[in-house]
């Protein structure tokens, strides 16, 4: 949500507004004008008042007029739309680069120094260039407050950019339908002052959403948040798309391995395998191919932390 007062949230708000209100204004004018004319005719030439119609098969001059005027209006509308769109393609050279990785059903953002975050944290008044990467299907990164959106197409390099002009938190949605939890695929844009940002970015020890709590597995949880595991796995027993983490560790369960069912015990090795080769063992009752491999994205050390977190979820 955004406010319509004060400075614009991004540089693209004004170009959008020009194009939108120009067309909307003309449209509203024509809509009212034509509707009133129609109603007026219907009253004035009602059968009761106007018994016999006066035949008139057409008028060339009128036809030419009402072809020419819409053509001119339409070309003007096109022009504003195009002018407003052009800057979208011109990424400033001094822009800060962030890479977003979209997957079913989460975004994660990686900065040039390797820091990863589940929210898009950016300094105010600095152009931001976003490299768009999708690991599975088409997603679309949409920031309503900034009036921009760009599809994230797997297998294709794309960038988008914007200039945040005001501090604050803004919603970031996935705007291309991508499956079951499409409507939950969202994040935040957090615009903070340049100083705060520098401090935040420099601090690579804590991750963006990590709280420095001391409960066991806290770190594992924040790794999973950034990696987007929680889009499919819950920690409270509900089934989202994948199995829940609640009471997972140490559990006995049936998996399909190469087409045959085997019963396994969930231990550290199995969890590691589940993360690196998710399609090797498919938990019974769940679809194959949804979970992608995280090989190379999660280190062994991080897996240990994840397991620690999973263990913490076992009810005594």
């Amino acid at each position: 949500m955004y406010s319509t007062t004060g400075i614009d949230a991004s540089n693209f708000v004004s170009t959008f507004n020009t194009s939108f209100y120009f067309i909307a204004g003309i449209s509203l004018f024509l809509l009212t004008g034509l509707t009133i004319t129609m109603l007026y005719f219907v009253f004035k030439y009602n059968k009761k008042k106007h018994k016999v119609a006066i035949q008139n098969e057409g008028n060339l001059l009128l036809e030419i007029t009402w072809t020419a005027i819409p053509v001119i209006l339409a070309l003007m509308m096109f022009y504003y739309g195009w002018e407003g769109w052009k800057p979208l393609g011109k990424v400033p050279a001094n822009a800060m680069t962030v890479t977003t990785t979209a997957r079913m059903w989460s975004f994660s953002f990686r900065y040039e120094n390797g820091k990863e975050s589940a929210d898009l944290v950016v300094p105010v008044n600095t152009p931001v260039k976003i490299n768009l990467v999708s690991l599975d299907v088409i997603h679309s990164l949409f920031i309503p407050a900034y009036r921009i959106k760009s599809d994230i197409v797997p297998g294709r390099e794309k960038v988008m950019w914007f200039l945040p002009e005001r501090e604050g938190d803004y919603d970031l949605y996935c705007a291309e339908y991508c499956g079951l939890r499409h409507s939950y695929m969202k994040s935040m844009v957090k615009v903070i002052s340049k100083e705060k940002f520098a401090a935040w970015l420099g601090d690579t020890t804590t991750l963006a959403v990590a709280t420095t709590g001391t409960t066991p597995g806290e770190e594992g949880l924040s790794i999973m948040r950034i990696q987007g595991c929680l889009a499919c796995h819950s920690s409270d027993g509900t089934k989202i798309v994948g199995p829940t983490y609640l009471n997972l560790f140490g559990k006995q369960e049936v998996v399909t391995r190469n087409g045959t069912d085997v019963t396994i015990t969930v231990d550290s090795a199995y969890i590691k395998r589940s993360i690196f080769e998710p399609n090797a063992d498919i938990v019974k009752g769940y679809p194959k191919g949804l979970m992608q491999s995280y090989k190379g994205k999660i280190s062994d050390a991080d897996i240990t932390k994840i397991i620690e977190y999973l263990k913490s979820l076992n009810e005594k």
């Binding site: 949500m1 955004y2 959008f16 020009t18 194009s19 939108f20 067309i23 909307a24 809509l31 034509l34 509707t35 129609m38 219907v42 030439y45 009602n46 059968k47 106007h50 119609a53 006066i54 035949q55 008139n56 098969e57 057409g58 009128l62 036809e63 009402w66 072809t67 053509v71 339409a74 509308m77 096109f78 739309g81 195009w82 002018e83 407003g84 769109w85 599975d136 299907v137 088409i138 679309s140 949409f142 309503p144 407050a145 599809d151 197409v153 797997p154 297998g155 294709r156 919603d171 949605y173 705007a175 339908y177 991508c178 499956g179 079951l180 939890r181 499409h182 409507s183 939950y184 679809p287």
Partner: protein, 535 residues
């Protein structure tokens, strides 16, 4: 139902052919009976699709889960979209009113290929059944939206194949209808009916026929490629195999944009007939009306890219498509102006169909104008895939084609059934329908402008208020529709028989009895005057 005949020739409803009962319908090759077969099947599927829409609106009345799971919601809008587009509005006016009236309006006894006509109805029923069956079989219902975007459409576990194949069969049915009409118009006009003496409704069917014929095969092959992709993993649209998902979108919209003109052109034709008849005045700018129909059909073929503005097309493609999108709006503008000019100095008889036409004009303009906003590059970047688009197309598809369908239903009802309906209830239904319509879809413009994406099962609290209003609108709409439908059914038993020309229309269908005799014309008329000769 008992129908009285008022001529020596039995009416098509009374005619006793080789078969009895239901078989006298489903084996009939009479274009009028086939039209009614279509009418009942389309209304049935409309009821299914509309109920899904109603349920979706229930779900959206509050954030979070209200009545269904996310899985169900996704399946619902997919099925709703497929049914409404492929099974209701694309066949809608051509298959029902086109089938019934095209031969009569051009002075022919039937369409050129009556048996193919029946075949296309069978294909239609098969196609929709496949789509509906896909919901209940396999590994869960298809959940891709009616656009079947790759690569999701071959990743999902949903039961895609029957749905896609069903859409393919529906496309085939649509091609056959279009082909039949084209040949009928080319070859079977009554003596003396030159191209420029043909009424506008057949003209729009003619243009539509070409679009059906030349655009539908593209979706056919695209859907086949999706099938091949899912079964053989060819890699046409799979980025990991080198394919390009955007190419799928190009192909899909190469059909599906022209398809929106398949939906609207016959609607425009029906509205033209209604407006002249009740104004008792020849259509203003007859030739320009024809030219604009042909222009829409032609230019409409080349603007598909406006559905892909944010997908990362090249700049050149973007502005070509945007420019052409604006150009295609101009012929629609010409039509609107000519319709209103037709009312000028007319002698307007305010009957129910005319109210429908007025309502049509109003919502069509809103839908069209919102289309212009979407066609603008800068605005589209924000509004694409939000509820603004949902509002646009409901206004123009439902408001345009849907309103024209109901208008045509009330206009030709006496001709088709031989009875008059109760005007008062028809008007009450219409008013409720209209109010409900605006309350249902109006707020969606606002929601979309504020950034609520479409195909969202759940949404943030900020969008709550708009959704409540919208959902309540759907109930008003619903009550209006129920009144309209009940009224039309009840009037079948009405005692008031329809004369052959209840409204003072001038086209050929009003010269024969209501309901028409089996052979339409005792003697094929010879046409000497233009279609709208009121002087």
């Amino acid at each position: 139902m008992i129908y009285q005949k008022d001529t020596a020739e039995p009416s098509y409803l009374d005619y006793k052919g080789k078969y009895k009962g239901i078989f006298s319908w489903i084996f009939s090759t009479d274009h009028k009976r086939i039209a009614l077969l279509y009418m009942f099947s389309i209304l049935t599927f409309f009821a299914i699709g509309a109920t899904l829409g109603l349920l979706m609106k229930f779900e959206l009345i509050a954030p979070g889960r209200t009545i269904m799971s996310a899985q169900a919601y996704n399946a619902f809008f997919t099925l709703h979209g497929i049914i409404m587009i492929f099974a209701v509005v694309i066949p809608g006016l051509p298959a029902v009113f086109g089938n019934f009236l095209l031969p009569i309006m051009i002075g022919a006894k039937d369409v050129a290929f009556p048996r193919i006509n029946l075949l296309s109805w069978y294909l239609y029923v098969t196609g929709v059944s496949l789509v509906v069956i896909s919901q209940f079989t396999g590994q869960g219902p298809p959940d891709t939206g009616w656009t079947f975007y790759a690569p999701y459409s071959f990743r999902t576990a949903g039961n895609m194949l029957p749905a896609v194949f069903g859409a393919f069969v529906l496309g085939f049915s649509s091609i056959l209808t279009g082909l039949n009409f084209l040949v009928t118009i080319h070859r079977m006009r009554a003596p003396g009916m030159t191209w420029l003496k043909m009424p506008l409704f057949p003209w729009t069917l003619y243009a539509t026929g070409w679009v059906q014929l030349l655009a539908t095969p593209i979706i056919g092959i695209t859907l086949l490629m999706i099938v091949a992709e899912r079964t053989l993993h060819i890699g046409f649209f799979d980025p990991t195999l080198g394919g390009d998902p955007l190419l799928y979108q190009h192909l899909f919209w190469t059909y599906s944009h022209p398809a929106v003109y398949i939906m609207i052109l016959p609607a425009m034709g029906a509205i033209s007939e209604i407006i002249t008849t009740y104004s008792h005045k020849a259509i203003f700018g007859y030739k320009f009306m024809i030219a604009s129909v042909l222009a829409i059909a032609f230019v409409g073929y080349f603007i598909w890219g406006h559905h892909m503005f944010t997908s990362g097309m090249s700049g050149t493609a973007l502005y070509t498509f945007s420019l052409l999108t604006f150009i295609v709006a101009v012929p629609s503008a010409i039509k609107v102006f000519n319709w209103i000019a037709t009312m000028h100095q007319g002698s307007i008889d305010l009957q129910t169909p005319f109210y429908w036409a007025m309502a049509f004009l109003f919502v069509f303009m809103i839908g069209g104008f919102s289309g212009l906003i979407l066609g603008s590059l800068a605005a589209n970047v924000h509004l694409h895939n939000t509820h603004f688009v949902v509002a646009h197309f409901h206004f123009i598809v439902f408001g345009g084609t849907g309103f024209a369908f109901f208008g045509a239903m009330h206009y030709w009802y006496p001709k088709i059934t031989g009875r008059m309906y109760d005007t008062r209830w028809a008007n009450i239904g219409l008013v409720l329908f209209f109010i409900g319509f605006i309350t249902l879809y109006g707020p969606m413009f606002y929601l979309g402008f504020k950034g609520m994406p479409r195909r969202y099962y759940d949404y943030d609290e900020v969008f709550h208020a708009g959704n409540i209003v919208s959902t309540m609108g759907s109930w008003v709409l619903y009550s209006g529709l129920v009144i309209i439908v009940i009224n039309l059914f009840a009037s079948l038993k009405s005692k008031i028989k329809a004369p052959s020309d209840p409204w003072g229309g001038k086209t050929l269908e009003w010269t024969i009895p209501s309901p028409p005799p089996v052979e339409n014309f005792e003697e094929i008329p010879t046409v000497t005057k233009g279609p709208y000769n009121y002087s």
